[in-house]
Subunit: 436 residues, 2 copies
């Protein structure tokens, strides 16, 4: 696989570039904004995921010989455009919501300032990253709320594209999950990894007893034994007999969990394994997690629901040209917006502020549509921070450090939200978006 | 990004390996099968997508120094297991349904014959690839049916993880789409690419007229002009005036399509542009495509719905150990199956056959549960073909050639299905699955 991200791009980005180069409009200074018109139906807020990944992918957005040769042979663009692409390296500036920030309809969570040619060809990559990562982060945040402090592990790699799975593990961690099963997410993004054994391990051995012994031998008594391959009650008796009361945890991956968990807890306690934890992993989502709030569950593992955005696998984000002016021209930005039926947008550069009341509670997403020299007077929290300045990335947001920062920021941004944000039932966005 | 696929894996695959190596059970000969317990609710068949990609990813499944060093530092497995992984290279055999094949609940579309250690660590990768690619292929096939012969382009890259998007473009093409917007899918998999311009191109210019002129200048009169940025009627008048009646196509990305398309066709005809095609791209899925069957649409572009499996972004596929025996032992396979509540599986090696009637129409998915020397007597079509034999891949299934082959096979496999398979409304699987 090529290390370049440059062809992870829709063909029309390059044909627009081709035509603009010929017309001489490629170097107009432009402002592009990414935002969503709506949250998924019933959702009260969203979580921005993907920012740190995007910055790294933009650094890898270079057209090498392989990419250029293919573009030439496929007659995608003219030779002059191939030459332009050979030198491409993003030299503009990008500001945005910090990763982990809460967003609402209309929130301009990414603002790209660049010549048309440089900004337009990033559109597909920007939207791919945010549409997927934010869908996962937004669903994961609701699950974390539903778990009321109990840890949740992301285990959905097998239900997502193999590379998407790594991004999903990262996004879920930013949203408050405690760990992932995905090893690449551990290596690349520093997400803690977890996992011990599947049913296959039990079935491989001549008996469940042999399997448990083999696992405890290799992984220690603190391991998690999967106890529902045959008969849960007999498995738990075996598990505690083999590992002793130091057994770390038992995992339940099937059955009617609320009643089963209660029975299992009682059995563990009766065997003296009062500190052995119970983890459950049976096709959970935010609603089934919430339904287990009163059950003696110690931790959750979530797969399909989190990596597919719990019903909304794409966040509906779009990337729009909102203003431009001739190159080198000072002042006089021309705000632009399409008028397409049902898809009209607001032209002009925006400055978003989260308004807070005296107690620090968020009350509105105030989006100031501003001119070149306007000073925004708003007591709220400024939402845009510089991510890339004149082509140079702020490295604090990259790699595992960026992930940790995003996870912390997500916690503090969510702490500002009013309580009704955290209801799982369907509702409207919890803050109004106000264009000022 | 590393070229290795080895860490695209759940941690528990490696901890199971670790424990099996210590117990000496790692080299038991095993049969693993991948299948789904259910189709998504209401679906009548599924399309296998991902086989060719998987074979290539298995060839890249090697633990290099970087991967091993990280596993060591993260204390994922013991040092002896690290040494075993350093030499890992899949030496077993894999047979499966040909890519593009139709599948049903219980269809063992992939069968892995390998020592436990070699087969178990591929589980996550196998499921990631098939769960995603097959979800896309299965949704795409329904859209192709709904389009009754009109071409459909896949344009959903921006609604999927950036690497998942490439796999999605490939899967949609196998399922009968005619092209993709995704350039990497063009380069890597030979999928035809398409696309001309977005609203941003019109908004960049001083007028729609300037934008159309610039595009026609660069891309020729045969290009597709996007005509709904401001006012469709005036845009079409301009488009034909600028490009002439040779204008290739106009694209509509908003509005009430059935009525709009009719008006646009009449206007184009009245301007003499009788051969100018109409392509529509406004958030389509199989149902909205079907609703346009009587409208004078020439082609469709589909985004979100196809890359997210039209409501079912993961196919629910699982990978199970179904039989094993001691290493070097002839005969006497031990069939195994878990009994977990609601997740019970059928043990033993399986030989699937698609039964056909005298006219060649499919009537059942017959799955023979067989012993070592059993000869399957069934007049149907054998569904398993060798993909990897003793570690060596059949190269016909790889790369762009494999994609073409899969696309052809999908067409012939679908042609066997009874007519009711192609109804879009909810229904049961169109063939019964019979365990023989």
């Amino acid at each position: 696989m090529s290390g370049s991200s440059a062809l992870l791009t829709d063909r029309y980005e390059l044909t627009m570039l081709d035509a603009a180069l010929l017309a001489g409009t490629h170097d107009r200074e432009c402002v592009f904004e990414a935002f969503t018109r709506h949250l998924p139906p019933g959702r009260r807020y969203g979580i921005v995921g993907g920012t740190g990944r995007l910055i790294e992918l933009i650094e890898q957005f270079r057209f090498g010989d392989e990419e250029l040769e293919w573009l030439r042979s496929a007659h995608v663009v003219r030779d002059a455009t191939i030459d332009w692409l050979a030198d491409y390296r993003f030299s503009g500036s990008i500001s945005g919501y910090r990763e982990g920030e809460v967003y609402f309809p209309g929130s301009p969570f990414l603002v790209v300032d660049a010549p048309f040619a440089e900004g337009v060809i990033l559109e597909t990559l920007i939207l791919s990253v945010f549409n997927f990562d934010s869908a996962v982060a937004s669903a994961a945040a609701r699950m974390v709320t539903a778990a009321v402090g109990r840890p949740i592990a992301e285990m959905g790699s097998r239900r997502a594209n193999e590379r998407g799975a790594v991004a999903a593990a990262r996004a879920a961690f930013i949203a408050g999950f405690s760990a992932t099963s995905n090893l690449e997410a551990g290596r690349t993004w520093g997400v803690p990894t977890m996992g011990t054994a599947a049913h296959a391990f039990t079935l491989l051995h001549d008996s469940e007893e042999d399997a448990f012994r083999a696992q405890v031998e290799a992984l220690g008594a603190g391991t998690t034994l999967l106890v529902d391959t045959f008969d849960v009650e007999r498995a738990i008796e075996r598990a505690v007999r083999i590992a002793g009361p130091e057994l770390g945890a038992v995992r339940l991956d099937s059955g009617d969990l609320p009643s089963l968990v209660r029975t299992v807890r009682a059995q563990l306690d009766s065997l003296g394994a009062t500190k052995t934890r119970i983890t459950v992993t049976n096709d959970l989502d935010e609603f089934t997690i919430a339904a287990l709030a009163a059950s003696p569950v110690d931790s959750y593992g979530v797969g399909t629901a989190v990596v597919t955005g719990s019903g909304f696998p794409a966040s509906g984000m779009v990337y729009k040209l909102v203003a431009h002016r001739p190159r080198g021209h000072v002042g006089d930005w021309i705000p632009v917006a399409k008028k397409s039926d049902g898809k009209a947008s607001v032209g002009g550069r925006k400055h978003p502020v989260r308004r807070l009341d005296e107690s620090g509670r968020a009350v509105a997403e105030a989006i100031h549509v501003i001119g070149e020299d306007d000073v925004v007077k708003d007591r709220g929290r400024d939402l845009l921070v510089p991510l890339i300045t004149d082509g140079v990335a702020d490295r604090r947001y990259l790699g595992a450090d960026g992930v940790r920062l995003a996870r912390e920021h997500r916690a503090s941004a969510m702490a500002e939200l009013p309580d009704q944000a955290f209801r799982l039932g369907r509702g409207d966005p919890v803050l109004p978006t106000i264009f000022v």
